[in-house]
Amino acid sequence: MSWNIGVIVLAGILGLLGVGLYGLLVLRNLIKVVIAMQILVKGAILALVAAGAAQDQISLGQSLALTVIVADTIVSVVGLALAVQVRSHCGTLDVRALSRLKK
């Protein structure tokens, strides 16, 4: 059985996306949600780089990946800042507390 690099990368992408999505679906702690989102986005970045390489457009894939990294960092920072605010307002990090906004 031969492990070529493509299979490994594909498995990595699917694994990261799967773990991230699973985390987003089941986790309730806001900090953990942010971590799950980070994992998901890492999968997406890996997919971008891999797609760029597969299409012989390595530089395009890499520049898109860099863009996503920048955007992702900002999203995480805002998410964590929100988590701090939620903690100080609701006294908990449980995302279910946020549904009180609805009422």
């Binding site: 999505l21 987003l24 679906l25 089941v26 995302v95 946020l98 549904s99 906004l101």
Partner: protein, 585 residues
Amino acid sequence: MAVVLTLMTIALPWVGALAVWLIGDARSRLQSALAVAFSAAAGLVSLALIPYATGGYEFSVFDAGEAFGRFTFAPDGLGVYLAVIATIIGCLAVVFSLDYMKGEHQLGRYYAFVLFFVGAMAGLVLASNLFLVFLFWEITALCSYALISFHNDDPKAVAGGIKALIITGLGGIGLLVGALLAYSYLGTFNISLFLQNAGQMPAGALATVAFGFLAAAAAKSAQFPFQTWLPDAMEAPTPVSALIHAATMVNAGVYLLARFYPAFAAVPAWRITVISIGVITALMAASMAVVSNDLKRVLAYSTVSQLGYMVYAIGAGGIFASQFHLLNHSAFKALLFLGAGAVIHATGTRDLRLMGGLGRAMPVTRAVFIIGSLALVGIPVLNGFWSKELVLEAGFLGGPLWAYLLAILTAGLTALYTYRCLYLVFYGPSHGKIPPHDAGYAMRAALYPLAIAALVTWLLAGPFSRMLAASLPFHEVDLLPTWEMAVEVLSAPQTFLALAVIALGLAAWRWRERLSPVANAFHGLAQAASNSYGFEWLNRQVVTLTQEAGEALRSTQTGQLNWNVVAIAGALVLVLAIVILGSVL
């Protein structure tokens, strides 16, 4: 040089808007001085652009790659004259505001949005990239919203602003869809390339573009069935009404139709739809103006009605007639609105029933208001007469007879409501307090130039037609020297028919007591007209339906993050499934 002037026409008001905003409300004298200076500078620059209009200039300021094309501007005749109207009337509106808005709070916000609007309007007409046109189109709508709702503690003003934003925004979708469709077939957003190659598009796609643009134009120019937002926009400060809702922004729809007429004229049913929308709007709005008791709403309905005339002329192929009427209408309607502003400022009310007999206390305002009214009615030698006759003539030659007869009837109604409005404000017995003062100096400084313009802009017919004919390669604009136009209008039998109907309209108000049995016969119609023929009811139904649908769908929003992720993942799977299915089938 044309490049610099074009860009300065757009940039000067925008820089002014920033400057006025940054100066802050604490230094109000400097603030208003800056607003006047920047708007006047923009007006002068746009005037200096006129000689370049026939030069066929087109230049790119920025290359946005394949996605949006090159951001090009083309100062041609059609664009330059509208930019001149926007900046000059913008300048006069700012000057008028010095008196009218004195003592109001947050004037920085006011002047900044007015200047921002002026720049965006100039950009809208000077841009030759459809994507840019769409951007400027939406910026003008946004400024219009912000200025209608300027008194944001007044619920009526806020509601009027949101209504204008929603309706013009809905129409904007038509423009966007049309532009994207044109891009997908022709691979360019450039307007002249589109006009040149529109014939290569499939007929169905071109028809979609044509009717999309028509919807956008109807919403922007308050045409049937989107006319309801303009009367409610009268909650704006009066100089804003004069600038945005009479002289400039509402003309954007007419501009769009005129600009793209050569590409759409051959689309089946497009021209007759445009004609129908034009005359129906003109007649309906005129009849509503007859029964309205709010000074500004009368003028708003009259604006809608006159815009209907312009749309009608475009449908009938009279591009020059429509644009000439637009030019003249901008002058006399801005004059009427600013005159009404002086009256409202002095009396503190907009209700016609609380006015009357103001002529003695406000002779200057009365004089300019009479000039504007005569031009609106279409009395000879004022500018409105010439262009209205040209519109009617174009309609007679290029449109069906029923549309022409309705347009003539509208001319009679125009005379009736204008005379009624003039009488109720300045003559007859007084029903309210007599104001202590006439229009102030800054107000007069804005009123006099417009009054002169209402008297003389018809003399520009020759140069104006020459400018349009020389710079619009795809339009058929006849050269019409002023003298020839005068002879043509005065020798046409239609002119005298129109004048006779106008005289009947004037007589109808004079003999209103004797005609009261007739008026009673039309009581039901008057009732319907003051209820805006059920369109307000329709609007309320749509709003109620939206709110109820929102309430009903509330249960789908759990507010739980995990469930939202489920929905996102589900939608992703759905999209992937559709894509895969699409590639398989």
